[in-house]
Amino acid sequence: MSPTSTESQAPANSEDADQVRGGLGHVVRSVMYKYALVAVLLAVIGLFSTVNPDVFPTFANAQTIASTQSTIALLALAAMLPLIVGHIDISIGFQFGLAQGLCAYLIVNMGTSAILAVGAVLAVGLLVGLLNGVLVAKVKLDSFIVTLAVGILVLGATQWLTGDVTISGQMPAWFLSLGRANVAGIPLPFIYVVLACAALWLTLEYTAWGRSCYATGGNPRAALLAGVRTERVTIQAFLLAGLLSAISGCLSVMILGASSPTIGLGALLPAFAGAFLGATSIRPGRYNAIGTLIAVYLVAVGITGLQQLGAASYVQQLFNGGALLIAVALARFAATRRSGT
């Protein structure tokens, strides 16, 4: 390649050879980092299966975990998108609450048809996402502050709408079965989550749009100058976050048959824990859909297992926080090892 000398070929080749020699250990280690979360998930499942063989490793238990965690999983995917483009959207928990309340309110109190109700909820979700996105991308406000303010506004709207009480009542059977039925033993909500995860994974990894998102998050200035429409990509990320939160809210109503005024806030932290934890795996150092999904279910399996052994409910928070701390510390350690310090 170098027109300057024949000798410069030789060192370049020995360089390649070096890489192959030192390469195997390197490859093994990077595979270990990539799938660490999967390994931990399997280990946790194995552990509880041996400790609690009658209760834990049953099909019914698996179904319960898969279906109850589906709303958190969707919310974690919602949290992930703005993180990818370099921002944070803490309004998603409140948006989830609004979607839930609005969905139940429309169907139960207003007698709106379920299809219309879901359509309206999704439209509202997109609208809130648009508001966040425009304020962050165009007006250039700090995303933490913007989404905190918008989140509080959304919370107020929810309380005003629902009177801050649980809304339950008559809902169409087909609507409820969307959240409760199984296909070949697999709960429908889990299938939605897998579909959403797959769609996001494919668009983020295999399309120019995904590349634009990661580039915008990694170096907005360089992305812009290379021709990425950074503002638009940012708005789209917030829009999708709003849409996913709204879907998650509707799904929650389908599963519970009701809305609950407290559930939104409780979902916020596990969702973020999932997104952050997920970034340590599959594509280490990068927020990614599959990692996020695995992380959400890892935490859920751990908590369920402990609670089935009789642990108190606060174990949930301890486990969540602890897992996140350990994971990011390990990821940090791995990153410094990789860069050779």
Binding site: S5, E7, E15, D18, S212, A215, A222, A226, G227, G340
Partner: protein, 512 residues
């Protein structure tokens, strides 16, 4: 000159399976300027980062004034031993003023125990004047050009009164006259017994400034010699491991005027310019723009490349108005831009492959702008990395940040060229690229000209402009002061014109 103030013995460092340094010896004498040279990726920055305590060595000893430096020495320990560093990325705090950045190093001036900003600024002004830097002490460092930042970082290192100052490619974007000033100030400190380790890819500087040279190749030391006893050609041979191919006689036959005008710039004006600027570039022509720091050359490139929005004026490409200030539309119209700062050119944490294909219009194959198939991309990226000689080879899945500075620059350069642009805007495109690779990159420029591309080349490397451009606009104080035709292009002539020395019949009004 006898006693070594810095002694390195048998230094070795691996990154994963890759050897960055192997058994390197290096000594710096009191008051010596010692140039450290080598190809991109030879290991210069790695050696310096180890010295600085930023990364740990695998093997070897380091002695400062005869005293052993511990393997785990922290940057603070190293600073206490009297070493100061100016890295490629400078390490200044953008949000603070020039005076505050200097104060971070030497402390604030106090008055009755309270910080006196007036005194701090006065002292900062004194320090800057010592080094011949003309920047305001109150300016935010983030608002300075890369070139001015370099001078501030140098000032800061000098001001610490360190005995050993390490300069890693600080001159990469300094025009020759500014380099001369920097050289003068380095010599001032040298007389006080300060030793310098000086890394550069501009060999002229070595012969102007250095006492000795050490050359690294593939992480090994190939030579150390007094500058007086070697020659330019010999140093090049050490660096490349062979002679430099003669720069295949640059064929500048594409006469301006015979080819259609491609780019028309009319009355372009922005905050960084003193007066409206107009010019034309023909298809297949390279228009050079050069001048001193702050003369406006970089501003013109930023405007055409989309990094800044003009207050007034238009630019037309093949008759169509260019949407200046909107990079994605510019890219869509066939404009490619290599920014003057590497920080604006690439995403460090993303893979080399991904950096080659950042935006929608820069996919691996133009037939499908939306879908990205990693394994197909890998093939294209590997080909590109080979074409532009990005080393180490065959590692396109590594993060860009794992490449040496010059190799990162080759990725940015390669991405701009492979988009087959109609207009190529280059701002110091070969900054930090080694002597051999620079010739190759220039060859690629010629190649794109054949397909009718117009090139605007703003560069602080006057030798580069002189050898590559068909025509040069010389800027002073935000205005175009002269236009030099092809037969008047020499590095010295450009430097003189940039300065506006009397024999270049400088106009009166720019004496502001």
């Amino acid at each position: 000159m006898e006693d070594p103030v810095l002694e390195i013995r048998g230094l070795g460092k691996h990154f994963g399976g890759h050897t960055a340094l192997a058994d390197v010896d290096f000594t710096l004498r009191r008051g010596e300027i010692h140039a450290l040279l080598g190809e991109n990726g030879a290991g210069k920055s790695t050696l310096i980062k180890i010295l600085a305590g930023a990364i740990q060595r695998d093997t070897g000893d380091i002695l400062v004034a005869g005293e052993e430096v511990a393997r785990r020495a922290s940057p603070a320990d190293v600073a206490r031993l009297g070493l100061a560093f100016v890295h490629q990325d400078l390490g200044l705090v953008d949000q603070l003023s020039v005076a505050e950045n200097l104060a971070l190093e030497v402390g604030y001036e106090r008055h009755h125990g309270l910080i006196s900003f007036r005194e701090t600024e006065r002292r900062a002004a004194r320090l800057l004047a010592d080094v011949g830097t003309a920047v305001s002490t109150q300016a935010l460092v983030g608002d300075l050009s890369q070139d001015e930042k370099v001078m501030v970082a140098v000032t800061r290192a000098v001001s610490r009164g360190a005995r050993i100052i390490v300069l890693d490619e600080v001159s990469a974007s300094l025009p020759a006259p500014e380099f001369d000033r920097l050289a003068d100030s380095l010599r001032v400190a040298q007389e006080r017994g300060v030793g310098y380790v000086y890394v550069t890819h501009r060999l002229e500087e070595v012969f102007e400034l250095a006492d000795r040279v050490t050359v690294l190749r593939d992480g090994r030391r190939v030579a150390t010699a007094p500058v007086a006893e070697t020659s330019h050609d010999e140093v090049v041979e050490w660096i490349l491991g062979g002679a430099l191919a003669p720069p295949g006689a640059v064929d500048k036959t594409s006469a301006h005027g015979q080819r259609p005008v491609r780019l028309q710039v009319r009355d372009l004006l922005s905050a960084g310019l003193a007066g409206p600027i107009s010019f034309e570039v023909a298809a297949g022509e390279i228009l050079g723009i050069c001048g001193l720091i702050g003369s406006g050359t970089r501003e013109v490139a930023r405007l055409l490349g989309g990094a800044a929005k003009p207050d007034r004026g238009t630019a037309r490409l093949d008759g169509k108005p260019l949407p200046l200030g909107e990079p994605h539309r510019l890219v869509g119209m066939g404009v490619s831009y290599v920014p003057g700062s590497r920080l604006e050119g690439a995403v460090p944490e993303m893979a080399i492959r991904e950096n080659f294909f950042l935006s929608r219009r820069q996919g691996p194959d133009t037939d499908d702008p939306f879908v990205r198939v990693p394994w197909r991309e890998r093939v294209s990226a590997t080909r590109l990395a080979e074409k532009y000689d990005v080393r180490p080879r065959g590692a396109v899945e590594r993060p860009l940040a794992a490449l040496s500075g010059g190799n990162q620059q080759k990725v940015i350069f390669g991405r701009a060229l492979r988009a087959k642009p109609r207009l190529l805007v280059l701002d110091d495109p070969t900054a930090g690229v080694d002597v051999g690779s620079r010739l190759e990159l220039h060859g690629f420029l010629r190649e794109t000209l054949d397909s009718g591309t117009s090139i605007v080349l703003a560069s602080t490397d006057f030798a580069e402009v002189a050898s590559q451009a068909d025509r040069v606009l010389v800027m002073r104080h935000g205005r175009v002061e002269a236009e030099l035709p092809r037969d008047q292009l020499t590095p010295d002539g450009l430097a003189r014109a940039s300065y506006g020395t009397p024999d270049q019949n400088a106009s009166k009004e720019d004496q502001t």
